[in-house]
Symmetry: D2
Subunit: 477 residues, 4 copies
């Protein structure tokens, strides 16, 4: 469908005015102000810096994983001066080992809206110190770290002086099932000795990465499969670790952060580096994932919004008029724009629904909502970016727009923290718990129907389109 009436121009209102009515009561005034400051910082400073940052890394692989372009520190300074720092640290749930509240003062739903804005730029999360895996790692250290561990690593992480990595996934096992983890941790005096391999060790490529949070098995024969794992803090310069190679995502290296494939050969780590104690690894991993998935999901919502902006910009571009008509006046394009708007709005609500449940209850109670966000959002992102790419043609798949790299990142979201299929499996299992109750209800309703049919005198007509026709001659007549 297409209408020929001209389309009036309209500005894009600031972030605080775009908050959905349903969510508005949950966002405080401070958060609203921060949203607007953050939006300007990301749109005016970070997004323009993205390609500059990539150019500064160079084109030689080794260089790209050794670089630390100055633009990052320049933007960090600006972010700090604008109060845009550690926004992720959740109000009421972020204390140091002495019980001091070190949060930024925002709820998960408030930070969710900020994460949406951060998701529009590749470097915005890092320059506001809100980048994965540091955020999750800081949560682990704040929640479970000893004062010593916090002093050594949490403090510089919060200050943005160092970076960190989280090493869970392993090659050659079905890693979506955490009980399969195979990296060995063997006790030897005051040390744990680590042997094995990790991959998708995100962040391990960065030269400033100083600590790895490593999950392994300390007690492989424990009858409780969720008590076999432990998490230990490994200084990046510990002998025995080799970053064997970096993995690409489609053709992107995601330097300097990157995704490492790391081998451990008799890596000795002092026992004081264990977090919470042996056998507590699974518990820590679980606690780490909930808010992280919300962050990921809301950044993806932001990426989808940016893709949609690219799409509507192209659709309005007077230089691109196939058959003499602006792209936005082509019905197929216009409908994709409408569906993008609709699906992004739905995605935002789904994520916020999980965020508010984490705020008001906790991540465990919000498992269903988190799984829903985990599955729904990347699908929307993938589709919107794909449509934008299609509208841009060659520019869409190449380095001339951010779309191709956004697509690659979005595609990966369908695998990160477990493939969609696992989350759908769990959603299905949760829903199926009500199966017998539903079966009983339907049976009971049918039985009531039969009673009513009898009472109203239509028992013989119930659910019968016709026709008690006896075909055999006189048998029953």
């Amino acid at each position: 469908m297409a209408s020929n009436r001209p389309i009036k121009d309209s500005p894009i209102p600031p972030a605080s005015e775009r908050i959905p009515t349903l969510i508005l009561p949950l966002v405080g005034d401070k958060a609203k102000r921060t949203l607007d400051v953050l939006e300007r910082f990301v749109e005016d400073e970070c997004i323009p810096s993205d390609p500059v940052f990539d150019s500064l890394l160079g084109r030689n692989t080794i260089e790209r994983f050794s670089a630390h372009p100055k633009i990052i520190e320049d933007l960090k300074s600006k972010a700090k001066s604008l109060g845009l720092w550690n926004l992720f640290a959740p109000k009421g749930h972020f204390h140091d080992a002495h019980g001091k509240d070190i949060s930024a003062g925002y709820s998960n739903i408030e930070y969710g809206l900020m994460a949406e804005i951060l998701g529009k730029s590749a470097i915005a999360p890092e320059v506001t110190n809100c980048a994965a895996p540091d955020t999750g790692n800081m949560e682990v250290l704040a929640k479970y770290g000893t004062a010593e561990q916090q002093a050594r690593w949490l403090k510089p992480l919060l200050d943005g002086k160092i970076r960190s990595a989280f090493l869970m996934t392993e090659p050659d096992v079905a890693s979506s099932d955490a009980t399969n983890i195979g990296l060995q941790m063997t006790r030897d005096g005051d040390y744990w000795v680590l042997n094995g391999a990790k991959w998708w060790s995100s962040g391990a490529g960065d030269p400033r990465c100083e600590v790895y949070l490593v999950v392994g098995k300390t007690d492989p024969h424990n009858p409780d499969p969720y008590r076999q794992q432990s998490l230990i803090l490994v200084p990046a310069d510990t002998p025995g670790m080799t970053v064997d190679r970096m993995l690409s995502v489609f053709g992107y290296d995601d330097a300097p952060h990157g995704h490492g494939h790391i081998t451990f050969e008799n890596v000795r780590v002092h026992a004081s580096n264990m977090v919470l104690g042996p056998g507590r690894g699974f518990e820590i991993m679980q606690g780490r994932l909930g808010p992280g998935r919300i962050h990921h999901a809301m950044r993806s919502v932001g990426a989808a919004e940016r893709a949609l902006e690219y799409l509507i910009a192209r659709a309005a571009d007077p230089r691109k008029k196939p058959f003499g008509t602006l792209l936005r006046d082509h019905g197929v394009i216009s409908e994709r724009i409408a569906k993008s708007r609709l699906n992004i709005d739905a995605a935002r609500l789904i994520v916020c629904s999980a965020a508010v449940k984490i705020d008001q209850m906790n991540a465990k109670e919000a498992l269903k909502e988190i799984a829903e966000a985990k599955v729904f959002v990347p699908k929307v992102l993938g589709e919107v970016v794909d449509w934008a790419i299609q509208a841009y043609g060659g520019a869409g798949v190449s380095q001339d727009t951010p779309l191709a790299s956004m697509w690659a990142g979005g595609r990966t979201m369908r695998l990160v923290d477990g493939p969609d299929e696992i989350h759908l499996l769990q959603l299905g299992r949760a829903e199926n718990k009500k199966g017998n109750a539903a079966l009983a209800k339907i049976k009971s309703q049918k039985s009531k129907t039969e009673q009513l049919a009898a009472a109203y005198g239509v028992s013989d007509k119930l659910e019968k389109l016709a026709l008690n026709r006896v075909r055999g001659s006189s048998a029953k007549l």
Copy 2:
């Protein structure tokens, strides 16, 4: 994916406990109590009565459109006694001509949750006096009717004594564009004389239907195409109207309510029956549609929930084990159940997002959200019902489950109040208003990038994968 761990049974909690956390603050205690009473009434009384009602109508077409089975009035009495009556009438927006508040006291979002429950049963809306088109018609009469009009029709409608019809759609025009309406209304003394035809005159089949709200053209040459239409109240026994035939929806007649094709031949209606005055028809139609679409959409959410209950019940049915395994242990079925849960949850949020905007602002401000709900919900309903049908096989397409008729109703929702494509067109147009702002922003960001690249000394490397290679010998060297 499938896991072999057994699935634990779990009950279905009452409606008040299933309200999404994001919506909870907007639902009052009275509404919560009503939700639970309503749920029991619908599940225990209405749903079991649905097939009995249909059986009481009989199998002969003429009979089916003349019947008024007693079960309807029995259920109405129960509903009234339980306080489940006229729930739709919106708090603060429903006054009679004397300014008296005659609302049921619920907000649009509260009633939305009730409409979800009503949507599970075919007759529940009617027996709680919340059925279309009466609800919209009562809103028109309450908002715009004279005291005389209200006394004659609003009062008995609110009491459930009579029914009404809304006659807007016409055969042979592209009726999704309201300016195309062709039924003539010509003034003759104290009367308007109506000539033309209407179809999809929903409710016109019911023998208790006493008044038609008819939209026609009083001023076809008015330069303002939105001032040509008027709405007049036509008593059902006015000479000159013929219900020529009833339209089927797939194979269903939707008796006794039905969808009439009605011809008007010199139908004389007293001028005092005009609502608001000549030329105000478009304005009335617009005001009528917003909340009505929310009601439709939330009933569809309820229908989808019921279809999902049927699906999980079948999946748990021990008599249905293809290849020796419960259907719910087949990965394809389990994943459909998960996606159903996810999409229904998203659909509910989308509709509630529109409802709250109507509550806090008005329908006009919520145009985007209403359009989103209008498009999103029927798609979800159609998919969930289709999956449930597939799980039931022959029982799914036949009269043995409510699924086939729910599917037909759901499919029609993609056309009612304008086809999806029109709503997407409007959504697309609204989004495209920001196209030039987006274009300007992207240009400005690119320009900033170039400045930054110069400042950081990488102007020559920007967006270049390689290689200023000059192939032609020494031309530029």
Copy 3:
């Protein structure tokens, strides 16, 4: 996308000129001539008769299942006089008990193209004596019937004097697994005594139906689950059978043919009515299904073509111009038309690919191709009809177009002869047989790659994006 250039008119060439180039060599001259005669008969005689036939059945359920409108016999006479009779009977595979070839002389692929044309009209299959379940039943009788059985039932079936039913599906079992069949057949002297129930007994509603082909269990304890079943011919007037009710399909009764729910209570059938002998039922069922699925599928292709004709007609209708533009100039509609053309063309090739394999080998060898056709075609049909419905709005879901009933029939195709999921399961299993071969091949290729990398001196660079970086100080240096 939309182009403003006007679209030139073009006629629809006759069927013989629309045969895809890939299929053309397989269609003989006689078949080409028959295709064109058949097309005119269906378009000019059968399609216009469809609504007349339905009107002649009346509106009262009992009447509808007792009627035999004269128009059927009038059209049969015309069809016979045009040589359009028993076209389905396959060349070289249709002999009577004396070995006499009684085929119509067409291959499965030739008849496939005819079935496509037949699929455009509701009554065309019956009036050319090519309607299910008679066609499959005639194949059973021709292939496996005794001279006596053939004389009593095959002869009048071939002459179109009587009709027949096929009773396999049963309520309350997962009937997609044939081993679940529960109707008991117990020997008592010269008789088999039948007890149980069947539903979806298609054809059983017709007053002219004289014989039921009934599948039941004669040997429920046979260790070979495929030797427990038998097929017996039951005269329709045998005492003990009750057509309890007729099943609806999305509200349609499909009268007078219909879908019966039949109970068997001590139904005594002479042992001479058994086909092939006890324990041969599964074998007969298997042989019956292959070509039948091709017929179904090609009729569905024809139905899809008719829906597409309706769609392009609406798109060209000058009375339907939303926003002043023909529907076909709206990009969304135009793209659906294009996708319909593409998908229907693909569907036809998929079915013909199965048909030619049956012709040149047999149905068993063509299992993969038949399953592919079974799954692909109804999906295409459903989508095309849905798009056509959407373009017609209210007329699309009602009796004013054939679209709604075509949709219901098409939807049912996804369940008939086993749900899609079962066929996909079998396709998946067949493909997975090559899994270990594929695994071995990939391993062998990797091993070869390593040899080659060594030979070319790049073993250390293989699949490494980077960077054997040893983070731990001097550990390995």
Copy 4:
């Protein structure tokens, strides 16, 4: 759905035995033999060489576009010795300027099946001298080149001594509309002077590329927009051309071939290098595209087959058993495998349907079929590869499988030679030409229905579900 019966192993039969029955009659014995030799060469030699080739290119961008790894020439020698050279050159349509047949002797459908095999390996097309854009360029030179042009460029291209590029697409115009081409060609004495820019100049990166086929405008004011363009042969070392940069495709550089962005600044080319003469450019482009799209499409079918092999291999991999079950025993995975098999088979038929029409008629007559293949195949490829990626998790998106790069290539196919939307637009327009004929037919059928209804006495019941009910008292009674 999932069945627990174990799945039997089965080998993968050779290519000649996998030819669909429908296509078999069109494939000669020589082609069958070649298919099998080619399959072994690709599977055993080329695929294992793919990663080695990439490693040999190195990791530095400039190096990657300067390299010519020896493995290429080694494989070329093997291919030549096996008779696997220039397979693409179509039988009966490939002559030199002296009329000598220089084809490889295969029809388009035969080569199509070979292209499918070539599509499984990145380097197989080049080492058999069947790589784009050389193939299309050789067709242009063979069909339209002068003896001199052929001697200078066709000869070494056929021998695999040099490579070539095709420069049509331009930045900043809607290049899907060929009339928008902007590169200027101005006559200056015996020379044409070229100014402008081209991008997606595929092949221009290769150091062995010696000739560019450049499309530009010689006559921008010609009233016939299809006579403004010309095609000229530009030696790669002509002064004035700069390969400004190489474009990436989802992060891949596709080195050394690559996609160049080239600027032309007063590039002087001798008039004898013009092909066919000024104003003939559009004609040449059209002739070039038909078979090329078939080649692309069939290579994509091969890529999809390889992705499916990866998928079934993973599904059978005993090391990957989430929840203790092989992936192939998870219903969701198994169903994707089945759908992949089905859709790939449909895709192959669609392409072959176009190929045979080109063989028996010509590319112009096969426009519909070519467009169908162009749209259908990349969609299937994208989906199958996506499913395979999902099954492999991290390995799927990284360099550890060929899947991610196959996905990027497949995605690009939806844009190459015009975006899908343009092809669908043309398909829609072609179908809509029959719109008025369909409209007339439906009207005529309705009119016939009315005549028949009158003849059979049911005119008053036609398409009426009910009920000429006159509501207004005695008006019509």
